[in-house]
C-alpha cells in the first residue's frame, strides 16, 4: 500500500529525515513514536505531498507521490489526514465542513454530499451537531469532526498527526475511541502519537523515530518489552 525507500527530507541546511525505509500494508495500523523534532510530522507531510522531498521515493499503491506528473489533488483523496491543531473550517457548519470537499472535489451533488456527510458525522458520534459551527464544539468534538471530514473522501489510508495531544486530558478518550473504531473496521492507518497505551493496544507495528532516523520498528510487544536500541530504551523509560 505504502512503500517508502531511502527518503531524505531537508529544510535548507536542516536534515530532518535521513534515509527512511518503510512499508505499510493494507489494513495495517502503524504507530510512530519519538521525541519532539525527530521528523514524525514531516514524514506524514511527505507522504501526502504537502512537503517536497530531496531524495528517495514514496509510493502509494502504484503512484509515485513526488513524481512531477502526479496529480496530488487526486492522490490526496485517498489519503485522509488529521492534524494536531483542530483545524475545522470556522466559517462552515459541521455538516458543511464534511460535505464541502466531496461536493467540490468529487463532484457529488449537494444533497448526496450532505446525506453522506451526516452519515459520517453520525459515525463519529456527532449526529446531533450537524448545524453547529466549530466554535460551539469542544476540542474533542472538533477533532472527531476533522476525522469525519477526512473519512468523507472515502480514503484508503488515514494519517493521524498527534490527533490528541492538543486536547484536555478528559477529551482524549473520545478521540482515541474513534480511532480504535476505525482500526477495527480495517482502515489502514499511520498514527503519530504520544499515547503509548493506544500504540500498544491498537497497532500492528510501532516505529520509533530518533533524530530523523527510524531507529526501530516491530510489533508493540517487542518494541515496548524488549527494545533493541539504546535510544528506544532511553525514550521509553522517559515516557513511562
Amino acid at each position: 500500500m505504502i512503500d517508502i525507500t531511502n527518503l531524505h527530507k531537508r529544510f535548507g541546511p536542516l536534515h530532518v529525515l535521513k534515509g527512511i525505509n518503510l512499508t505499510v500494508d493494507k489494513g495495517e495500523v502503524l504507530s510512530v513514536i519519538g521525541s519532539s523534532g525527530s521528523g514524525k510530522s514531516t514524514l506524514l507531510y511527505c507522504i501526502n505531498g504537502l512537503e517536497s522531498i530531496q531524495d528517495g521515493s514514496i509510493r502509494v499503491d502504484d503512484t509515485e507521490v513526488h513524481h512531477p506528473k502526479t496529480d496530488l489533488n487526486r492522490l490526496r483523496q485517498k489519503l485522509g489526514m488529521v492534524f494536531q491543531q483542530w483545524n475545522s473550517f470556522p466559517h462552515l457548519t459541521a455538516l458543511e465542513n464534511v460535505a464541502l470537499a466531496p461536493r467540490i472535489v468529487k463532484g457529488q451533488s449537494k444533497s448526496e454530499a450532505s446525506e453522506r456527510a451526516s452519515e459520517q458525522l453520525n459515525h463519529v458520534g456527532l449526529g446531533d451537531k450537524l448545524d453547529s459551527y466549530p466554535h460551539a464544539l469542544s476540542g474533542g468534538q472538533q477533532q472527531r469532526l476533522a476525522i469525519a471530514r477526512a473519512l468523507a473522501m472515502e480514503p484508503s489510508l488515514m494519517l493521524f498527526d498527534e490527533a490528541t495531544s492538543a486536547l484536555d486530558p478528559e477529551l482524549v478518550g473520545e478521540v482515541l475511541d474513534t480511532m480504535r473504531m476505525l482500526a477495527r473496521e480495517g482502515m489502514t492507518m499511520i498514527c503519530v502519537t504520544h499515547e503509548m497505551g493506544f500504540a500498544r493496544d491498537v497497532s500492528d507495528r510501532v516505529a520509533y523515530f530518533h533524530q530523523g532516523i527510524m531507529e526501530e520498528i516491530g510489533p508493540p510487544e517487542q518494541l515496548f518489552n524488549t527494545p533493541q536500541s539504546e535510544h528506544t530504551r532511553a525514550f521509553l523509560s522517559k515516557v513511562r
Binding site: 489526514m81 492534524f83 483545524n87 470537499a101
Partner: protein, 226 residues
C-alpha cells in the same frame, strides 16, 4: 450677528444636489472596486517578498508607504497638476478616480495582508489534504475568512472614499461638494448650502454603515455576525 437664513434657494436646488451626490457615490464606488483589486495584488506582492526583494516588491512597498503616509490632497494633486506638468492631462473625474484608487489600494493592501496573515497555515494544509486545489482552497476556505477579518476596515475605507471625494472640488470635479460650492457662490447662501450638504453626507455614510452591517450579519452568521 444678524444673519438672515434663506433656505429657499437651497431647497430649490435639492434635486441638483442629490444628482451631484450620485457623482460622489459613483467615483467613490469605482475607486473602492479598483482599490480592492489593486490592493489585493499589492498585498500578494508584498507577502511574497520572503527575504529576496525584486523591483515588483519595491514597487508595492513604495505604493503602500506613499498612499498611507502622505496627505490625500497631495495624492490628488499629483494626478492633477503633477502629471499635468509632464504634459499628461487627465479629466477632473479621472484625477479624483486615480487619486482615490491610489489611496484606497494602499490602505486596503495592508488590511488584506493582515487578514491573510491571521489565517493559520494549517487551514490551507487541511484544505489541501482533502484534495482541494490551491484555487478551491482560496475560494472556499481562505477568502471567506479573510473577508470577515477585513470587513470593518473595508467598510471604513468605503466611508472614507465617499468623504474624501469632496476634495475633488479642488481639482475641478463637480461632485456634491463642488456643486454646492458652485450654487453657493451664485446665491451667497453659503452656510445653508453646506449645512444641507453635510446632512446629505451624513445620510450617505449612515446608509453605507447600515448596509455593511446587514450584509455582514448575513455573511458571518456563523460567528454571530459582525
Amino acid at each position: 450677528m444678524d444673519y438672515n437664513f434663506h433656505w429657499q434657494p437651497v431647497i430649490g436646488r435639492l434635486p441638483d444636489l442629490l444628482l451631484a451626490s450620485l457623482d460622489t457615490l459613483q467615483v467613490a464606488a469605482l475607486s473602492i472596486v479598483l482599490g480592492i483589486v489593486i490592493g489585493l495584488l499589492l498585498a500578494i506582492l508584498r507577502m511574497n517578498a520572503r527575504g529576496r526583494w525584486t523591483p515588483l516588491q519595491w514597487f508595492a512597498v513604495a505604493w503602500i508607504e506613499i498612499a498611507r503616509n502622505t496627505p490625500v490632497l497631495f495624492q490628488l494633486f499629483f494626478f492633477g497638476f503633477g502629471l499635468g506638468a509632464w504634459g499628461w492631462h487627465l479629466s477632473p473625474f479621472m484625477i479624483v478616480l486615480a487619486g482615490l484608487s491610489f489611496n484606497c489600494a494602499g490602505y486596503l493592501a495592508e488590511n488584506f495582508r493582515g487578514g491573510f496573515q491571521s489565517i493559520p497555515d494549517t487551514q490551507y494544509r487541511a484544505a489541501r489534504s482533502v484534495g482541494m486545489s490551491a484555487g478551491q482552497t482560496y475560494y472556499h476556505i481562505i477568502i471567506p475568512q479573510v473577508l470577515r477579518k477585513v470587513w470593518h476596515p473595508l467598510t471604513n475605507q468605503i466611508v472614507w472614499a465617499v468623504l474624501m471625494s469632496s476634495l475633488g472640488m479642488l481639482v475641478g470635479y463637480q461632485e456634491l461638494t463642488g456643486s454646492a460650492q458652485y450654487f453657493a457662490s451664485r446665491t451667497y447662501r453659503i452656510f445653508e448650502y453646506f449645512a444641507v450638504v453635510a446632512l446629505i453626507y451624513y445620510a450617505l455614510v449612515k446608509l453605507i454603515l447600515m448596509a455593511s452591517r446587514m450584509l455582514g450579519w448575513r455573511l458571518f452568521r456563523s460567528e454571530g455576525g459582525v
